[in-house]
């Protein structure tokens, strides 16, 4: 990956400079730079425990960087956390799906909390429309994952942070995800995702983390 210059932080899009992350007493990574222009995609790779999830949580503002800064269109995200929250979607390892709510209720809730109204579109994008009235308890692992991903479509947001979104998806659902990502980028949105399998995402930059926090060459 071409390391972005510090000036990338002031460019349009989402960027980070000299980031360091500490979990407990361990420094997971340090001196990390990245930049995702509007319409761009950044793919995080690296072995288990190298800090992909930690980096994504940091990007979402769930944790604070030990050092360095994150910026959106040049403005540090720490300056206005509410605005940052409003512009991002974060899908972590867990699906945030309640067994007793139906598929439509779940998606309606998460979309509605962000003022999104495209519930129907979300369900259809990930082929869940036929399951709309099932309680989520009945979903298979991949169906749950698709429901989590449907939030992306149901309430649009310019920045997507996806932690191993392809886990457990079948071939069709993977194609749906890739199509959704392509549409997001075409609309000028930015996508950051982590993965262990090669995903055919055109023109994506790759940021490869190593086990001890040094970026691979």
């Amino acid at each position: 990956m071409p390391a972005p210059s510090p000036s990338a932080v002031s460019a349009p899009g989402f960027a980070g400079h000299a980031l360091a992350c500490r979990r407990g007493e361990r420094l997971v990574f340090a001196g990390l730079d990245f930049a995702v222009p509007p319409g761009g995609a950044l793919v995080l790779t690296g072995p288990n425990g190298s800090g992909k999830s930690s980096l994504l949580r940091l990007m979402a503002g769930l944790t604070r960087p030990e050092a360095g800064m994150l910026a959106w269109n040049g403005a540090p995200i720490g300056d206005d956390p509410a605005a940052h929250r409003a512009r991002l979607h974060f899908i972590g390892h867990q699906d945030a799906v309640k067994p007793v709510l139906t598929v439509a209720e779940t998606l309606g809730f998460w979309a509605g909390m962000r003022g999104g109204t495209e519930v129907r579109a979300g369900l259809e994008r990930f082929r869940l429309a036929a399951l709309a009235d099932w309680p989520c308890r009945l979903l298979s692992a991949g169906q749950r994952r698709r429901l989590a991903l449907a939030r992306l479509v149901a309430s649009p947001a310019p920045l997507w942070l996806l932690d191993e979104p392809a886990n457990g998806l079948d071939a069709e659902a993977l194609a749906d995800l890739l199509a959704a990502i392509a549409a997001q980028r075409a609309a000028g949105g930015a996508v950051v995702l982590s993965t262990h399998t090669a995903l055919p995402i055109e023109g994506a930059r790759e940021l490869s983390l190593t086990a001890f926090g040094r970026r691979a060459a």
Partner: protein, 221 residues
């Protein structure tokens, strides 16, 4: 629908569908009050003496019981993370969750209390004050409990911590609640005690969500 109301609605739905943590409270409350006569014996005068205390202590335990999992379930399944990233400030979300919690615990509990007081032979004069004191006191229980629940999240000994943190804060609510009823039964004015309960609530209403939200943020860190 605003995000605030949506969150309340969702918590109510969860409570009614799985009941589990919150709606069980009324059943628990009723059964507990039924247990007491077995424990202390069935003499009506004795029961009447301790009726107000039993109803209030049970209300307190019921609230405590249901609060332990106020944020726990959301935390375990990743929902809390997602909620923390919603545009609605976390403080408002805590308030919404407390309100939902009160609607499925404190409110029905206050309404069912006269029935239990009847079983326990409480003096008739005490009924209106019993309901009033519960209506004023139980929201404080939910709010204070939320702080404890948030603090103990992710702590290694969540449960013990929760009760240790919260119960002492509950004691003033308990004291004023019972005092109001006893005052009325004894022929004194219940109003000062009820006003104090109101003051506790007025204090908890802005402070508890602030404290709980801060605790939640650092639990997610």
């Amino acid at each position: 629908m605003t995000a605030f109301r949506r969150l309340i609605l969702r918590d109510l739905r969860l409570a009614f569908r799985q009941g589990g943590d919150a709606a069980m409270v009324v059943g628990f409350f009723v059964l507990t009050v039924i247990l007491f006569p077995f424990g202390v014996g069935p003499e009506p005068e004795l029961l009447a003496r301790i009726a107000a205390g039993i109803v209030w202590v049970t209300a307190l335990l019921a609230a405590l019981l249901s609060l332990e999992r106020l944020f726990q379930a959301d935390w375990e399944d990743g929902s809390l993370e997602a909620l923390a990233l919603m545009p609605l400030p976390l403080e408002a979300q805590v308030l919404a969750k407390c309100l939902a919690h009160w609607l499925v615990t404190g409110l029905p509990l206050s309404l069912v209390a006269p029935l239990l007081a009847l079983l326990l032979h409480l003096e008739p004069a005490g009924y209106p004050v019993l309901v009033l004191s519960l209506l004023l006191g139980t929201p404080s229980l939910s709010l204070i409990g939320a702080v404890g629940a948030a603090l103990s999240l992710g702590a290694r000994r969540g449960g013990v911590l929760l009760s240790l943190l919260v119960l002492p804060l509950y004691i003033p609510v308990l004291i004023f609640g019972v005092a109001a009823i006893e005052a009325r039964i004894g022929g004194f004015a219940a109003r000062p005690h009820l006003l104090l309960l109101g003051a506790l609530l007025a204090g908890a209403l802005p402070l508890a969500p602030l404290a709980a939200a801060a605790a939640l943020r650092q639990a997610l860190d």
